[in-house]
Symmetry: C2
Subunit: 187 residues, 2 copies
DNA sequence: GTTATTTTGTGACATTCGTCACAGCCGGAT
DNA sequence: ATCCGGCTGTGACGAATGTCACAAAATAAC
């Protein structure tokens, strides 16, 4: 739980009472590599705080898997659309390594938030961070070409480069594996 | 203000007291076509609820303007990164038509939220909607090619097609104006 | 240590897309 | 009516990217 409390302190913090109210919503879970945290078609009823390992969100386009996101330690993995609107998720979330997570149960989280403004604020800040990540990521595709996108990733998210295979990374950057390989070959 | 109250009711609603607390944060403003709501480099200290007209967010890539977003009636326009983190915005927001907006002042909004959980909840729901929009939009670039992106827009956001010129739309879809013109020519 | 399996690199070629140039069209201003 | 500016379409051509095929390298499994 230590990683989680550091994460929460970085957002807006919680009083002792806030923590107490939050407890019923939390559970520590372990996933094995390739296990699913969420499958396409399911309604996402939880947030997953990643404490160790990493996972990916991917979309199945007639048999071909396209990665739409990666979640590393101290990030929240979820489908915003599914979680927020209560609709089936259009993508899956799968562990890429053995994974330790803290699961936030949606129903219990909302109950806790209803009793404590602190927790409501925490949820807002968390969403703010997710929205900001998506805003930047969406802009990347409009502003940059393939070479620039790769350079941007190496400059701003070197961790992803180190831990994710190029095969997995290519679809996240919106290009073919071979193209990414050739971009890297040019210096 | 009627459009705003309908919008808020659609999120989570507000009691009479909530409305009263929110008032000091709100101001009705009019922008003329081509006026700026936010300029690159400024810190965004407000949310803009669009009640009439529409505006665009665009990034300046060495002289060339690239549209990253459009905001129509009953949407919230802002830079999440700048507003949330208090950092200078990397893009501008500009009126594409004469515009009527309700401005939410950041400082006063936070004061109101501190006094009322309702308003805090409203902020969270609003962010949730923005995050969901970005999540879908970012996925579009990874999952679809140019032709599919255009077809997706016509199917899901016909309003944008009707009101935004193809010249403006092309950069939003991540392609050259001429390419969009040719995609349309093929049936 | 050896064998599978996965990952990465590379060549050949087709397709898509961007860039430049120019023409036609439309609407607003005078 | 005329002019002007912005928007859209189109041709020509080169650059970028995708696809298919296969080999080399790295990693995992036994």
């Amino acid at each position: 739980m230590h990683a989680l409390s550091t994460f929460i302190d970085g957002l807006s913090g919680l009083s002792a009472r806030g923590w107490e109210l939050l407890q019923p919503a939390l559970s520590e879970l372990a996933y094995k590599k390739n296990d699913y945290l969420l499958k396409t078609g399911q309604v996402c009823d939880a947030l997953f705080f990643i404490s160790r390992g990493y996972c990916r969100a991917f979309y199945d386009k007639d048999g071909q898997e396209i990665n739409t996101d990666f979640f590393f330690e101290n990030e929240i993995a979820t489908s915003i659309n599914s979680f927020g609107q209560g609709v089936p998720s259009v993508f899956s979330i799968q562990a890429c390594e053995n994974l330790s997570v803290v699961r936030f149960d949606k129903r219990r989280l909302f109950e806790a938030a209803a009793q404590s403004t602190e927790i409501e604020t925490l949820g807002r800040k968390c969403l703010q961070r997710i929205a900001a990540k998506q805003e930047k990521h969406a802009a990347m595709f409009k502003i940059m070409n393939a070479t620039e996108r790769y350079a941007y990733m190496t400059a701003h998210f070197p961790e992803i480069l180190q831990r994710v295979s190029l095969t997995q990374l290519s679809s996240y950057l919106g290009l073919a594996r071979e193209t990414l390989s050739r971009i890297r070959a040019k210096r």
